[in-house]
């Protein structure tokens, strides 16, 4: 299976095809969606997209890390990290896709 990379271009093209706004406006709306999610997360709010998954913020305390090259101890400052949890539906969809790809692979051999 060759892995391809989907970017903003394909997502805004899909919005264009599906909703019938101009290409420009479709791209702007995609950007707006990402910005609104980013703003909510920056406020420390979790973002839950039903049937897709949820993004939440976890605060990490300070700990001692080590520079792997020099072995030197460096403090890792307290920070906030983003955690994405896929919904069960998304997980199932991905595994159904995996099974389909496996069947295709078998047919070819």
């Amino acid at each position: 299976m060759t892995e391809r990379t989907v970017t903003r271009a394909q997502l805004s093209e899909a919005v264009y095809q599906e909703v019938g706004l101009s290409r420009n406006e479709s791209a702007d709306l995609l950007e707006l969606v990402l910005n609104e999610i980013t703003d909510a997360l920056a406020r420390g709010e979790a973002v839950k997209i039903s049937s897709f998954g949820s993004f939440s913020i976890r605060s990490k305390g300070q700990r001692i890390g080590r520079n792997p090259k020099t072995g030197e101890e460096v403090p890792i400052l307290p920070r906030r990290v983003l955690v994405f949890r896929a919904s069960q539906l998304l997980k199932n969809r991905i595994n159904a896709g995996l099974a389909k790809a496996a069947v295709r692979g078998k047919k070819q051999t």
Partner: protein
């Protein structure tokens, strides 16, 4: 923020759009990401993050209650890596 709150917010910012169009926009975006992952593709949104699929090999697991060995078949799990700009945003605006 939930999906419906996101839709309401976008509708408020775009009064010229019908609410149902805003709904379709949001649904289409996440559906397209899900479809790409189901094909085994990566989705890279610079500044936001990247979604990818990681394969987990089949393994022998254990029923934690009974201790009985069970076969866990190969599976794929979605993974999200936070983009650089988003990571910085999370740690600057307090």
């Amino acid at each position: 923020m939930t999906k419906s709150e996101l839709i309401a917010r976008l509708a408020e910012l775009n009064p010229h759009l019908y609410q149902r169009d805003v709904e379709r926009i949001v649904t289409t975006i996440f559906d397209e990401i899900a479809a790409a992952l189901a094909r085994g593709d990566r989705v890279e949104l610079r500044g936001f993050g990247a979604f990818s699929v990681k394969k987990r090999d089949a393994r022998q697991g254990r029923n934690p209650r009974t201790g009985a060995a069970v076969d866990v078949s190969e599976k794929a799990v979605p993974f999200f890596k936070t983009g650089k700009q988003l990571r910085e945003r999370l740690n600057t605006s307090q």
